[in-house]
Symmetry: C2
Subunit: 459 residues, 2 copies
Amino acid sequence: MEEFREWGHRLVDWVADYLQNAGERPVLHSVRPNDIVNALPARGPEQGEPMERIWADFEKIVLPGVTHWNHPNFLAYFANTSAPPAILAEFVAAALNANGILWKTSPAVTELEVVTLRWLLDWLGLPAEWFGMILDTASTSTLHALAAARVHVAPETRDAGAPPNLVVYCSDQAHSSVEKGAMALGFGRRQVRLIASDEAFRMRADALQETIRRDRAAGLLPCCVVATVGTTSTTSVDPVRAIAEVAEREGLWLHVDAAYAGSAAVAPELRWLLDGCERADSLVFNPHKWLMVPVDCSVLYSRHPETLQRAFSLVPPILNTTDGGLNMMDYGVPLGRRFRSLKLWFVLRYYGREGLAQVIREQVAMTAELRDRIAADSRFEICAPCNLSVVCFRLRGTNEANSRLLEAVNRGGRFFLSQTVLGGRVVLRIAVGNMWTKRETLDAVWGEIERLARTAFPE
Amino acid sequence: MEEFREWGHRLVDWVADYLQNAGERPVLHSVRPNDIVNALPARGPEQGEPMERIWADFEKIVLPGVTHWNHPNFLAYFANTSAPPAILAEFVAAALNANGILWKTSPAVTELEVVTLRWLLDWLGLPAEWFGMILDTASTSTLHALAAARVHVAPETRDAGAPPNLVVYCSDQAHSSVEKGAMALGFGRRQVRLIASDEAFRMRADALQETIRRDRAAGLLPCCVVATVGTTSTTSVDPVRAIAEVAEREGLWLHVDAAYAGSAAVAPELRWLLDGCERADSLVFNPHKWLMVPVDCSVLYSRHPETLQRAFSLVPPILNTTDGGLNMMDYGVPLGRRFRSLKLWFVLRYYGREGLAQVIREQVAMTAELRDRIAADSRFEICAPCNLSVVCFRLRGTNEANSRLLEAVNRGGRFFLSQTVLGGRVVLRIAVGNMWTKRETLDAVWGEIERLARTAFPE
């Protein structure tokens, strides 16, 4: 244990230095495909190796292949944070190795999950009685919601198998995980309808209603509609209340994908984001996206735990219990459950609701300022309403010019941005979401883009 | 960052002490349902709290609710280990927060996964060209395998949806995750056949063949057979070679569940366990079960990566890439991917193949010695062949007496065992698998059982 102690102290200092100076590293990796594979031996070692050598290879071979998500200049996808107290919690959780298969296999795993997810319901203004559980990613959470929706609409699925004519609805801006989940579950891509969105990229509830009508007329069975609060491309917010009206009238399960934007509702002035969500049958949001918790930590809520049980519960004799504790395995696919609630609990307590709200509030404000600066430059256009912490913009020019601009920024090594496509047009995205990102970061990235636009793409 | 540094050092010492002295704690938690929920506030804090207070609550409220998996006397389910180098790797991974959505979002996440999973193919004697990826648990891996099997046998599933007449086969000793996965995917429980096992709890290949014949005659479409190498109840090993013959002849996908026992094949003398598995279409094994890696780390291998892609790949514009890197998201449900390969790489290097083999070899040997001691006591009987690190036994008496004996052992607080049911009879299981468990541990648990049998259940 002396070796562990010594290396532990050494790595604590390494991590502290890393967090302090992350901004001095290139944010993007600096390797080509297979560089790391080729730099490491094709066969594993027969005999054990000293920590010194493993760590040397980590610094020399692995680290150049890391894209630094916990870096202030990471502005791609949905930027996020691994907050210091959460890093410590993950360390302790790995040491305990507690596994929440059943309540009794580590009650703290299950009960801290119950406690933290109730706190979050309260902070987000969602119904206090909802059931919640932590899964790895929003893709997995949405797959669970779709499976529950299917059992809800067609209870015979559990025993007799799924009927072939079920249909899933989401907007043409929904995350690919909806279509992927439906496909993996055997719905078939043809049974997924991508409903048209309006000029602000929000699902049109009238188009949803009309499509359901047509599907019923064709003998199909509408099953589930997925509304998005904070789409991946533009952070647009579907009209959940109007969609809930349709879902209730038509007997569909309403699942809300608030993976990114849900967290923002910890700030009272952003509670409007979840308007209507209290009528959802299930909702996913990811504390690992915008609540400073390291990956992975996705929360799936549902008002129908008994439907999750119907979709997933099977108890073999080896896991039979009579202690009255809550066995999370009865509500989803995974049996093993890492102690993810520990890091969530550390973060919620260390920052408090107001501390988290303040970080998000600041990020929304500085993103709006960035948008205004971009909008004021006639060479650029803003491509979508900017309501949260993502700004979508482009050079007034060809798709190729925009792709080259993005590539030039990322190749520079100081910043990492991503792109999307809106109505066939390539659009650049700057996503703020890392707590280390400051106003100066956004000044600098805009300076870089503006400079590249001037020199590489002169008018 | 000074606070992080200070707490980091403090927690390194706490963890080192914990690992050193885990054996002095009660292995099982000491709480009743809702104790932890009730001890914590119903609402989360508005303002942030100091680390000192969070940690005090951790020690006072959370820790009594932890069942200590990383404790030498944990002998339930499949006991396992969180090895010191892996704990350090998890700490570093949490700080980096690298997310392997795409190759470029952190090439090291993907490429260390490629490297470590190739090393393991070599060590296990499996085909070098198999594709591998890390998922959270074996339940998730098996769900992926079943979805791939369905697309393999019925390629129209991806677009048109799953046909209603597909059938999945496994033995009556298979893990519940097979039936659960099939049910979640919409196969329907009636389309899962639990094939009879022989007197040593191994699937009968002749019964499999006969059941497939009958299903075909009834117009059903046999899709997938799941063979188990190391069943959960008794660690029995299905005759994979004979099952592969049937699967190949009948055009079924063969998935092997080697979640627990697969790791043992790092010891050459235990390679026989995977005999025939080179003919599988997919195979799952969990380094977090018997390879000293903390939860979660489940490996899914397949010879058909293109089938996984057909089952799961969907690329939205925001994730379009042209860099030629391997994007793991194309092969499964989760989009976000934690840097799980780091802990696996640390463990494989720190111990080496021979170091890991030596731990497993010792555990198998000491389990056999324990079995012999139990077999020599006429009050007890051994209930299944003991070929690996689990011994199944019972008092010669009623089910109730055995349940009471188990309860008495666990209530004592020094040891944690689990039970199963074989042919309607309650059976106690002692599972060795934690690297901290020594011969003296097994001497002591047997002493305790023997004492309880003598005093509480006199002849």
